[in-house]
Symmetry: C2
């Protein structure tokens, strides 16, 4: 097993990222032109009266005339934030904003975060219900069990749009997809496998529920919570735990894990020992999904078993079980048929689509997008990469079909080939291309000249280039102007970035000579003309520099791509 | 009085506008780069833990690490939509989305609409309260009186962010600003004027409250509701109306308006007669602000009085009292100092700033932005235009200063000159330039060649150009490809747009000859080379066409601006 490189960054960097340029991660813009008086008359008063009346007569037209059909609310009360616990609603906002922009980045869904400052389930349900009708779907997030079960159940009954608690169902779908492939590779039959589920929180419950629905035998499941094995002798179990209370004689994890085929951990770091792993059946499957640190590391498993498949929640090991593979695309499919709910059939369809994708040969364009890596279905590749650009046109199709088949779709799709093509076009192609370019560029750490260095956007590009670790930017600009611009865009004027300009005499002479040699015959330029040229035009200066210093020109393409897109706005 | 041109459009056009390309008007994007694994690691897991912990320790840091500080919720229950009445929450969504994009367009504020499906004030208050902490401010909209008073009052007490019912306070601020200037021009003293307020809804109450606070005498005010004069004899008045119950003997509008200095109408179309106007004092002031049709038209007033100033809510007459002059900038100022509320001092400061602006000479750049029109302070210009680009750096400064002075600002501004400069930069300068270009272009209805007509964005630009009535677009493209592209972007393949291409032999020969004449000496091109050139490169074809047909090249600048900005995304 080869551990991958992981990006390094400090807390300070993460804080700066959130506070740079514009605080936070969300921006809300108009999807329509808003320039002329006519635009405003159509978008607002008096033109807006037409859609208002239409929707008043037929509320389903909100899908046509408002953003509803592409709009998801990401809602949390902050009672179970990441692995950090109940830190309250406002502290969960960075996570929810992050989730919202992931929806956009991976599935072109407009998502807004709403943090609800309450721990009372009735109040939470009521508040969400009151606002829900404006959305095409609701993604619940980071709400502690068992409140999350009550809230989701009740909202599903009250609302006719999808309500999806991602910590439960997103995790369950990805886990189930990965497990199907692991079973296939280890040649195990899901009807016969013995599973130990360590953890009895929201995600553990949802995973186990989905396994049951897909054919795993309840009698072959042992679930443990922080107290120990959940068995029939335990008292005061809530209704969700008591459903999984088993007749086993095993009293603890050590006894439960013996001869088990599968360990599914959604608990906490380090709880599975090497001895536990040794006692498992032949060709065991270990999903150690505690975040950020797994129940056991892949290295530890490898120390004691060569026949195991191990998956974790981490990006630095193979087989990352990451919800990002699921939720954007599941909602995409559900929204595109205006689904009333996300039912089990849609979840299983999504899981099957994900599992199948991992078994397919990875095509060249995907290899390019992923920086030259071509994974192959097997013990270290049971699940697609989060950056696999095929996810967008595979999962939504499966989900939409299942929704139509089970009668929860308000809208039919006639031509699924066309739909699949449209899905591909949802993503900005330059982003996929950029991923590949990024991976290539990082290896080389080249110097790049940002010629028009006094331009604010160029400066931002240079900073982004540096901060992303792509290489070393060099600005052609006056020091004083750069310092001012840096302040304007919210950076310290002492931000460390290399600046060159025509006050640097030796450079100026060198480049002036270069131009003179090149141009004095063809254009009849004198030396003083060349000197003036180099002093007055930063782009000419930059070009000379690239030529003389043998910097890479190819990377200029990268900068232009950055500038032409919106990322540096 | 010169009636202005008003944009014409049909309900169908308004519906198409809302349903074209992407349904609705809102798009939610990431304000941060989300391309690389590093970006994702910083924006979401695991990097997001740093801001989560920071905010958990100090909730005010949400202003630094989340969008909170630039985020406004536009909230309605749809109980008083436009002039249309109680059509329910979801029917109000187009209006609220429109309001949200106006916030962005005019003040760079990220605003999201939330429609609350309830008519119970306690439930509304409670639901808003639960979600409010994620926002920097709350704009209530189109909620019927007297519920709106109760909801706003209670929320103001519960929350430590601005809660602003725009129908009340926005209207009051603009009305007060316009009235101050009208009084100045008519040489009337606000302490002595007699005012008739026709209407007792949310906006009428708020306007009258603000007038009282600014020095108008309560004993000089007569208010009427739909039943008649609100006087002390009336029974069952709610507490808001009974506050304004007067001792007048006037029983109806006819009697009340006699010798009045000011008529302030926030009621319904046509209720003020010519006879009423004739009976008013010398140099009367008539604000006929019923929407969409005023209490009396300016033409009718002019028929009977030459000494009157009249203002309406309409854009086709002078003196438009439009909330758009206020709310974006009032919130901008409040957000920039992280204000805890928008108090009366801030409202009056905004009104004063607006009134002063109308008295200033309109500078050339504003004239250009407004299409060559230079209004001059006087009876037909008592209030700035909604498109006046100076609003953004005048009103927020006044509001922010008042917030700091009254102690409701969490954040100080040290350098107001710098702040004013930063405000100017908030708006996309090309939008202002575009306004001027648009006005110029429309007059000429020129033909414009969109050379790369098979490109989706160019096609969208051409359609936008046509739909905006700017001129006649001509695409250089294959018919078949355009038909496909049209379908891709959601238009009928029969959309009426002129297409030319190299299959049109006579044109092809004409342009090929043109190139040949131009290039065969300098470049040694043969006729067949020129023919190939013209066939293979649509941009060359387009350039030839522009030259040969003497189309205007200058307008190409317009198209490029459109493409380079985000509007055609």
């Amino acid at each position: 097993m080869k551990k991958k490189n992981i990006e390094h960054y400090s807390d300070k960097e993460a804080l700066d990222f959130h506070n740079s340029n514009k605080s936070g991660k969300i921006e809300i813009i108009s999807s329509k032109p808003m320039t002329t008086k006519r635009d405003l008359a159509l978008a607002y008063s008096p033109g807006v009266a037409a859609p208002v009346k239409a929707i008043s007569a037929n509320p389903e037209l909100a899908y046509d005339y408002t953003t509803k059909g592409n709009l998801v609310a990401v809602i949390s009360n902050g009672s179970a934030i990441l692995g950090l616990g109940n830190l309250g609603a406002i502290a969960s906002k960075p996570v929810m904003e992050g989730k919202a922009v992931l929806f956009k980045r991976f599935a072109d869904i407009d998502a807004i975060d709403l943090e609800i400052d309450s721990n009372d389930t009735d109040e939470i349900i009521n508040s969400i219900k009151n606002f829900a009708n404006s959305f095409g779907g609701i993604n619940l997030e980071d709400i502690a069990a068992p409140d999350c079960f009550i809230i989701e159940d009740k909202l599903k009954k009250l609302l006719d749009i999808p309500v999806f608690h991602d910590d439960q169902h997103g995790t369950a779908i990805i886990t189930y997809a990965a497990l199907m492939n692991a079973l296939d590779i280890q040649k195990k039959d899901k009807k016969k496998i013995r599973i130990v589920v360590n953890g009895a929180g929201a995600s553990a419950m949802a995973c186990t529920n989905l396994l049951l629905k897909s054919g795993v035998k309840k009698s072959n499941i042992i679930m443990l919570d922080s107290i120990g094995v959940i068995n029939k002798k335990r008292k005061n179990l809530n209704k969700w735990k008591s459903f999984y209370a088993s007749n086993t004689k095993a009293k603890n994890l050590k006894e439960a894990i013996k001869d088990a085929d599968v360990f599914l951990g959604l608990s906490s770091a380090g709880v599975l020992s090497k001895e536990n792993v040794i006692s498992m059946s032949k060709n065991p499957i270990i999903f150690a999904c505690a975040n950020p640190d797994p129940e056991i590391t892949p290295e530890e498993v490898e120390d004691v078993r060569k026949d195991a498949i191990i998956a974790t929640g981490r990006s630095d090991y193979p087989n990352q079980v990451n919800n990002l593979i699921g939720f954007p695309y599941i909602f995409r499919g559900a929204l595109d048929v205006r689904a009333k709910t996300i039912n089990d059939e849609m979840k299983i369809a999504a899981a099957n689509a994900i599992a199948s994708l991992a078994r397919e040969r990875v095509p060249d364009e995907v290899v390019a997008a992923m920086g030259g890596e071509r994974p192959k279905y097997g013990k270290e590749y049971i699940i697609p990469s989060t950056f696999d650009p095929r996810l967008i046109n595979v999962i939504p199709v499966a989900v939409a079909k299942a929704a139509i088949k089970t009668g929860v779709a308000r809208k039919k799709i006639d031509n699924f080939d066309l739909y699949s093509e449209q899905l591909k076009q949802r993503l900005d192609p330059s982003v996929t291309i950029m991923q590949g370019i990024n991976s290539q560029i990082k290896k080389t750490q080249k110097k790049v000249v940002f010629a028009d260095g006094e331009d604010e956007n160029t400066l931002k590009a240079a900073i982004a280039f540096k901060n992303s670790g792509l290489g070393i930017p060099i600005l052609v600009a006056k020091d004083k102007v750069v310092k001012e611009r840096l302040k304007d865009i919210g950076y310290s004027e002492n931000f460390n970035i290399e600046i060159i300009n025509s006050t640097m005499k030796s450079l100026r002479e060198k480049y002036s000579n270069y131009i003179f040699k090149k141009l004095h015959r063809s254009q009849g330029l004198l030396e003083r003309d060349c000197d003036r040229l180099i002093r007055n035009d930063r782009v000419i200066w930059g070009s000379c520099m690239v030529k003389v210093e043998l910097f890479s020109l190819e990377i200029q393409v990268f900068m232009n791509t950055l500038l032409q897109n919106n990322w540096l706005k």
